[in-house]
């Protein structure tokens, strides 16, 4: 399963719940698969997707808030896991697409071949699942409806052969339409 296939499978299950997606190919893939006003494409500020989602989750406890993150991304802001684990938002679902590389900068290795994000997140109060097949992915997402967060889902993915196009929406518009899509 590559990242785009994984993203397609998840978006098909989560209705209109908001997604904060990390920079690089993650936001690009999400944009190509399903552009929706509930997507906050974070095109810069690497590492901060989970922090932005934490803010949204705290203020909107009645809806589930998803983070689409990467291994390189979360390794840049590991402190975020500690803050989330301390505040324990029940409605935050943190999905890390793990390919062990910084794919958009040329495939340089990250640390996740040898260190395990699932162990780190478990130690800071996340409920953790790790999967690598599309079938398990869909089953797992369906179960989240009955579970209490913070949830960490590590999805093992293969490198993609095709590169998705850049997000074609101006950041100010991304901001405004995301804000309007949340009815708090």
């Amino acid at each position: 399963m590559n990242r785009k296939e994984a993203i397609q499978a998840i978006v098909g299950e989560i209705g209109t719940d908001p997604i904060v997606s990390a920079n690089g190919y993650i936001s690009r893939d999400l944009y190509e698969v399903s552009d929706r006003k509930e997507n906050f494409y974070m095109i810069g500020s690497m590492g901060l997707a989970s922090s932005i989602a934490l803010g949204v989750a705290i203020k909107n406890p009645k809806i589930k808030v998803y983070v689409f993150d990467g291994d390189g991304n979360i390794l840049m802001n590991l402190g975020s896991l500690a803050t989330i684990g301390n505040l324990k938002p029940k409605n935050l679902i943190h999905i890390v697409f793990d390919n062990h590389v910084h794919e958009s900068t040329g495939g340089q290795p990250t640390n996740t071949k040898k260190i395990h994000l699932e162990k780190i997140s478990k130690s800071v109060n996340f409920t953790v699942t790790k999967i690598s097949t599309k079938q398990r992915l869909v089953q797992t997402i369906k179960k989240f409806n009955k579970m209490s967060g913070p949830i960490m889902l590590v999805v093992q993915i293969q490198k993609s052969k095709k590169i998705s196009s850049r997000v074609g929406i101006k950041p100010d518009i991304i901001h405004q339409r995301f804000k309007e899509s949340i009815n708090n």
Binding site: V20, F40, M42, I43, G44, S45, G47, L48, A49, S50, S51, I52, A53, L54, G55, V56, A57, I58, K59, N60, N77, G79, S80, A82, T83, L87, P171, D172, I174, H175, F178, K179, I182, N184
Partner: protein, 162 residues
Amino acid sequence: MDERIQRSLYNYFKKNGIKNFVGVPDSTMKFFIEQGLSEKNVIIATREEEAIGIGTGFILSKSPTLVFMQNAGFGNSISTITSLVQLYNIPLIFLIGWRGYLKNDAPEHLGFGKIQNELLELLSLQYKVITKLNWKKSCEWAIKNTKKGNPCVLIIRREHDE
């Protein structure tokens, strides 16, 4: 800045619609932070960019927010300010402690203290330095900015060297 004014700063913001206070601590504004903590209305982040990220999530949820940090932490955050706060026009109020304001401050504070205001100008971030006389007006100015959709900065000077 004395304790009374620091506590008043927090109370004034709170009374005038600023709902969230998130940041990394600075002794320069310890009474301000303490006032918020006493009301369980402060989130302490692990670093400044994280605080800006959380604050951005609050703003996206239509909830006015102040982020506080040392000027050293503001330095850490420059790329996040250009590629998140300014790029998406996120109207956060920044409260930044001016370490290295006094010439006899600790040596590790002096370098950044010297370039801080020039950096703010280079970034085209609007800022005001809070004083005993202007603090209320400065807060009003900041609240007006956030309501208009503009990020802005208030500077609180470190007037002690302990």
